[in-house]
């Protein structure tokens, strides 16, 4: 790791975060990069459009997409540049034409799962939408909302990813189990031991898979979470496990923080050659890291308050990070100077690498 390399991957932040009015859990850019969508804790998919010709990214708020309830834990854009899907914690899946002003979905599947849908992904060709959740199922849908098939994986499924060739899918659960499934026959082809990320503690199942990514050549599977120390107020070192997909062998275990930094919350590949990693731990604690599997230390490490997701803009010039406002915690009924009891919010931090 040379000083030049470190400098190349040390991000700088735009002047100020974009203030999002609610707490958001998930986000995606449209393929053209004009729209940003984000799923909130209040049943909405927030929608913003990029203001053109600005020196720094600037977003204009558009009417949110409606039709879901409770937590919108996952959203994804289809590659056609027109449609986006999102799912909620009550088990509903919906699709919108996000370029239109209309807020209502063009289709919606109620009770697509029994309860919380935790992840929604779209295949590279846009022909398959996959969802997973607490009911232990992975369900495949066509772009017009018709159910195609399902795999009963079991457990509380938190993450799924398509392999780059589109022929198999990786599934990770909150019980720390990771498996690969051949889509043609719905058969399990491999298991990966991510048990390090899970700990039963008294009555609580703690930890599990919180982030997952596959390298662009499909050879490496990255699984993120924590090495749980306890239940309740969960503590543990944020950890990434890198597996060889062909053999299932663990190639690398990377601890990317201290006990209070807790979870790796997102993983993404930057085409210039590093992994983008976010962590979120005790209130106020969080990081954005640029990291390579072959290195012992991250290329860079930026403190951000409870960072929950990172999304690259399709231009490759910048990325957006979902964080939580500082001072988000406190016992009792903490009111502001106006005497109001307010919820928290998700400042969207925009960052760039120096060379971009």
């Amino acid at each position: 790791m040379t000083p030049e390399l470190k400098a190349k991957f040390t991000p700088k932040a735009a002047k100020k975060p974009l203030e999002l009015p609610q707490q958001f859990l998930s986000a995606c850019f449209s393929p053209t990069g004009v729209f940003l969508l984000a799923g909130s804790m209040e049943g909405q998919v927030g929608r913003w459009s990029l203001v053109p010709d600005k020196p720094e990214p600037e977003l204009a708020e558009k009417p949110p997409l409606t039709g879901l309830t409770a937590w919108v834990s996952a959203c994804a854009c289809l590659p056609d540049g027109k449609l986006a899907v999102a799912a909620d914690s009550f088990g509903n899946l919906a699709c919108w034409s996000y370029c239109d002003d209309a807020a209502e979905p063009i289709w919606k599947v109620e009770n697509a799962h029994d309860g919380w849908i935790r992840c929604v992904i779209v295949s590279a060709d846009g022909q398959k939408i996959a969802t997973c959740g607490r009911d232990g199922r992975v369900v495949f849908w066509s772009a017009d909302g018709k159910k195609q098939s399902e795999i009963k994986v079991g457990g509380d499924l938190s993450e799924i990813r398509f392999a780059p060739d589109g022929k198999s899918l990786f599934a990770g659960s909150l019980e720390g189990k990771v498996s690969q499934w051949e889509l043609a026959g719905s058969t399990k082809v491999r298991e990966f031991d991510a048990g390090l990320l899970f700990k039963p503690n008294r009555l609580q199942d703690v930890g599990g898979v919180r982030a997952m990514a596959v390298s662009s050549d499909g050879s490496l599977l990255l699984v993120g979470g924590t090495q749980p120390e306890n239940g309740g107020n969960v503590q543990g070192k944020p950890t990434v496990l890198a597996f060889d997909v062909a053999t299932g062998e663990l190639k690398k275990k990377a601890e990317l923080g201290a006990g209070g930094d807790v979870y790796v919350t997102d993983l993404g590949w930057h085409p210039d050659g590093c992994w983008l990693v976010t962590t979120s731990g005790n209130p106020g604690q969080g990081k954005f890291l640029c990291w390579r599997v072959e290195d012992e230390q991250p290329l860079s490490e930026t403190k951000l308050s409870n960072c929950h997701a990172v999304r690259q803009h399709p231009s490759g010039k910048w990325f957006a990070l979902l964080t939580t406002n500082a001072g988000s915690n406190g016992n009792g009924k903490v009111v502001d100077k106006d005497g109001q009891y307010r919820g928290n919010s998700s400042p969207l931090v925009v960052m760039t690498f120096p060379t971009t």
Binding site: R134, R202, Q204, N331, Y341
Partner: protein, 426 residues
């Protein structure tokens, strides 16, 4: 003017009790089905309490008071219960099915948002400060109701971790009203009489101990000597009831229903202790302080709690014991509406819930309510003092007339400015 309960007000005839004890002990120890007729007989006469303490703070949103589709509602769905119009969180499907036996108080508003001060403050009833340490509810019941002739400790605690004698619970009542704690649900160590000691030798030893106690008593404050004697006598009775702790003799279907986990095993042991006639059984579950990852935490915590809690209420009902056992389940506070950056909820005493069942309590209802977002109680708010009055009333103890005697100082048994919640009482 003192209005302490007199022992004979609570006593069964010795013959009736010993007969009952024998039947109950045999049934409980053998794992055979409990004699329903005997249970009904007990129900008419005994006063018992099951106190399920969820240490750290159960979230009211993810349990008894869901607020779906609201700003702070969280990810989980509400589900219908067996009582039309009452919903609970989807994480407690079995409790939902027995709502006809439950009374949920959704209007709790208490004073302390810290564990260190809040836990004892809540369990002592948060009375007016008179410069004395008040007893925990279990100790109060041990004093006011007694062991009802069982010879067993009146107040036992089943908890994870260490056991022993927790005299601190008793406050000014004196150590004998403390809790006998069974750490990890196990009997005290060395409880069994060694095989090398015959029963006759054991009796000789005990008579020697009684004489030594008598000498000790003459030179000590009465409280500590009585406490020593009481502990010895309770321990001896426990020696005879050791099989209580052996859950391998319990019907495997019961073990499965309660759950193969710490809390399930402890709740099953609690049922057996109630069947044996112990007056006050406290079960503690730790690990509920979900400042981080609250929702995934409750997603596994709640179903296990629900499984064991619903099982014991069903069993007490089936055995005819629910009319004499007051069941209470609660924490020291609820959890904040606001969701912090660690996706957790913090401590919130301002608006939270507890649940009850059994003796003296109306069933199949909610009492009190919170606003649409769950940030405040709407209408009457209830402090823990109100609950102490209510629980004493449910046990047939008039908290307005009954007082503790602290070495001649009369003290109210619950906060003097508060009262029982009439809507709760049957």
């Amino acid at each position: 003017m003192q209005h302490l309960c007199k022992p004979w007000e609570h006593r069964l005839s010795r013959r009736a009790w010993l007969g009952g004890m024998s039947a109950a002990g045999t049934a409980a120890a053998s794992g055979l089905p409990f004699d329903v007729a005997f249970g009904e007989e007990l129900a008419k006469q005994k006063k018992q309490v099951l106190f399920v303490w969820i240490d750290g703070g159960m979230s009211q949103y993810e349990s008894w008071d869901p607020k779906p589709n609201s700003q702070f509602g969280g990810p989980f769905r509400p589900i219908q219960t067996s009582v039309p119009g009452i919903q609970v969180c989807e994480l407690m499907p079995r409790s939902a099915k027995i709502m006809q036996h439950l009374c949920v108080v959704r209007g709790m508003c208490t004073q302390d948002n810290s564990h260190s001060a809040g836990v004892p403050r809540i369990q002592r009833g948060d009375p007016k400060n008179r410069g004395v340490t008040y007893p925990f509810f279990g100790s109060s019941v041990a004093k006011l109701v007694g062991n009802q002739g069982t010879g067993l400790p009146a107040y036992v605690s089943i908890k994870p971790g260490n056991g022993g004698f927790i005299y601190q619970d008793a406050g000014f009542l004196g150590p004998q009203f403390g809790a006998v704690a069974f750490g990890d649900g196990k009997p005290p160590e060395n409880m069994a009489r060694p095989e090398s000691v015959s029963e006759a030798d054991e009796e000789l030893r005990q008579s020697l101990r009684v004489k030594a106690d008598e000498r000790y008593r003459l030179r000590r404050r009465p409280g500590s000597a009585e406490a020593n004697g009481y502990v010895f006598e309770s321990a001896r009775e426990l020696m005879r009831q050791q099989s209580l702790f052996d859950l391998s003799k319990v019907d495997p279907r019961d073990r499965e229903r309660y759950g193969d986990h710490e809390f399930g095993r402890h709740m099953l042991l609690a049922r057996r202790m109630l069947e044996t006639g112990i007056t006050f059984v406290k079960v503690t579950s730790y690990g509920w302080d979900t400042h981080g990852d609250n929702f995934n935490g409750h997603a596994s915590l709640m179903p296990r709690y629900d499984q064991a809690f619903a099982s014991i209420v069903e069993d007490l009902q089936e055995r005819g014991m629910l009319d004499n056992v007051l069941v209470i389940t609660m924490s020291e506070f609820g959890r904040t509406p606001r969701i912090n950056g660690h996706v957790g909820r913090d401590h919130f005493p301002e608006a939270w819930s507890l649940a009850m069942s059994g003796r003296g309590v109306k069933r199949g209802l909610t009492v009190g309510k919170t606003n649409a977002k769950g940030t405040a109680v709407e209408g009457d708010a209830y402090d823990i003092g109100h609950m102490f009055h209510t629980w004493f009333a449910a046990l047939g103890i008039d908290s307005a007339k009954t007082q503790f005697d602290n070495h001649g100082q009369p003290l109210p048994i619950a906060h003097d400015d508060m009262h029982a919640v009439k809507e709760v009482l049957a």
